[in-house]
Symmetry: C2
Subunit: 338 residues, 2 copies
């Protein structure tokens, strides 16, 4: 029941382990005949290389790391990560690379986890999500020279490749849509202000609204949670000149808004249009179903894995953009009340 090693293959084939290694790795130095014999034996006894051994000599861990920094209870409802991970996997499994997942409480713990993971040589590279405007992980990645790919737009403060989607364009499209419906007072409930993409979206939103000559729009910042979505919506709807449309930075908060509106007697979509910043089953589950910015998260994961693999192999892939989100119109948006 011992797991077979190349030594066993070598013994059976009557050659040295060196020859076996060459054969199995498709390198020159063995005749076609011998190679076939070795491969056949390996196949027969079900041999698989020990990652530990390969890592030790080849100095490759054959794994990549993903560290998610979120308080545990916020996790789960956000469908983003599971989709993204599924995408990563789809690409990684073909490359015989494993995904090491870590869930930690906060940014600080994430950096510690990163350092540890790297020091223990557990991974060859890392996927960095939830980028902050000022992100303390970047200098650490550079200091330790960790191959990594940023899930977010390319940054001036690093050479690290990024995989990104044109958030700005998507936000602009949504604003254009609302304006075309006749809305003049459009507000935004943004996510964590420390996150880079939050800022990008806010900026795009402002520009779009100003571009339509609608004056400085209102933007409320939150932490992406259900609770803050409720709070923000309440704040916005309690004002005198309350907005006729609100764009939310994710689907969870948009759902929260639905409840607040009901509670406050604000009809949706007749008195208030709502756009969710992420699309997921959640948007279809609620009534009215939510108009949302929909993007292919799994494809995002696939691309990310590819760029990371290239980075690890020193093929410096450069940043890559994936398709822009598209607006899926459902029942939560319509023209504003006369």
């Amino acid at each position: 029941m011992k797991r077979p090693t190349i030594a066993e293959i070598a013994a059976r084939a009557g050659v040295s382990i060196g020859a076996v290694s060459y054969a199995l790795n498709g390198r020159p130095g063995v005749s076609a005949e011998t190679r076939k014999l070795i491969l056949d034996i390996a196949d027969e006894i079900g041999w698989r290389p020990s990652v530990a051994a390969r890592s030790l000599s080849g100095s490759r861990a054959h794994s990549v790391g993903l560290i998610i920094a979120r308080p545990a209870d916020t996790l789960g409802v956000e469908p983003f990560f599971m989709r993204f991970i599924a995408g990563l996997e789809r690409e990684l499994s073909g490359r015989r690379t494993a995904l090491l997942l870590q869930v930690v409480e906060d940014h600080h713990a994430a950096i510690e986890a990163m350092r540890l993971c790297w020091a223990e040589r557990r991974v060859d590279g890392m996927v960095i999500t939830d980028l902050w405007t000022e992100d303390a992980r970047i200098p650490v990645l550079e200091e330790l020279q960790i191959p990594a790919v940023l899930v977010g737009r390319p940054r001036p403060d690093t050479e690290l490749p990024a995989v990104w989607t044109d958030d700005a364009a998507a936000v602009v499209a949504a604003v254009d849509y609302l304006v075309a419906l006749g809305h003049r007072r459009i507000a935004r409930v943004a996510g964590l202000p420390a996150l880079e993409h939050t800022q990008v979206r806010i900026a795009a939103f402002r520009q779009a609204v100003l571009g339509h000559g609608l004056g400085e729009p209102q933007v409320v910042e939150t932490d992406y949670s259900w609770e803050e979505g409720m709070r923000a919506t309440r704040t916005l709807l309690s004002q005198r000149d309350r907005p006729t449309a609100i764009m939310f930075d994710n689907d969870v908060m948009a759902t929260a808004a639905l409840n607040v509106a009901q509670e406050m007697g604000v009809a949706i979509p007749d008195e208030l249009s709502i756009v969710a910043g992420d699309d997921s089953q959640l948007c279809v589950m609620v009534r009215p179903a939510l108009t949302a910015l929909s993007w292919d998260i799994q494809a995002y994961g696939v691309q990310t894995a590819r760029v990371l693999a290239d980075t690890i192999d020193d093929r410096s892939p450069g940043s890559r953009q994936v398709s822009t989100a598209s607006l899926v119109v459902r029942a939560s948006t319509t023209s504003p009340p006369a």
Copy 2:
């Protein structure tokens, strides 16, 4: 910029690498003085053991595997896994053990992934979720003698330890609650019939209903998805003597029911009471908020990690039961119409 090794520590401390190894592992054979010196140096140069090297000699990978078999798009909305993983991590990180996550399409692929993962010596053990009544993974685990823990009740077909929650008791409690409210026609929308816990819950449900002298109850089987939740609800509500209460096997389907009911003009909870089988933010997000069976998934993860660690260390921990789900009453249940 090279990562430090024990050889460097040995050189600096003026001792052999053997001594360093003993000191760092807290084993006898070095004086307190020398030990302190070594530890200080290790700390100073930021040494961390290379997992690869430890794995090779110690024959421990210091990782455990979790393989999730779900079509990618079903993933995400179900908050279960993220919570569960967060629980696993909380326990594992303290044990310097990493979590290797794999997401595959189906059961068959899961078995392949298991075999590969084990053959490559990537993990020391595995967490097995979504157990089937007849589960092809069990014989494989036994054949390869893979340490594993089953997330589900102990089984007669294996010695593998299980971490489980008393699903039956929870279901019975929910039925009792509905009966106490006055319901006499209670139906159940169950999850995947191939899954073991689905069967357990169905059996408990039947028994409870029969025990109250309410006759054979109606049970519809589904795949846990939103779509089938809709379909099942439609089926149940289109009958002549339609149920006055329905218990769903998860939160997603219960949410779907809310929509179907609205669509069919069935008032909730006045004309139909709904109980969700899982609790999550989702249950609070919808209107009316859903009465649900709530259980501490994170704690489940923690216990699972513990039992797995013990299994790996050969401390044959035996199965462990975690706290039973409790019924959280919200707005979706009330007495049946007169």
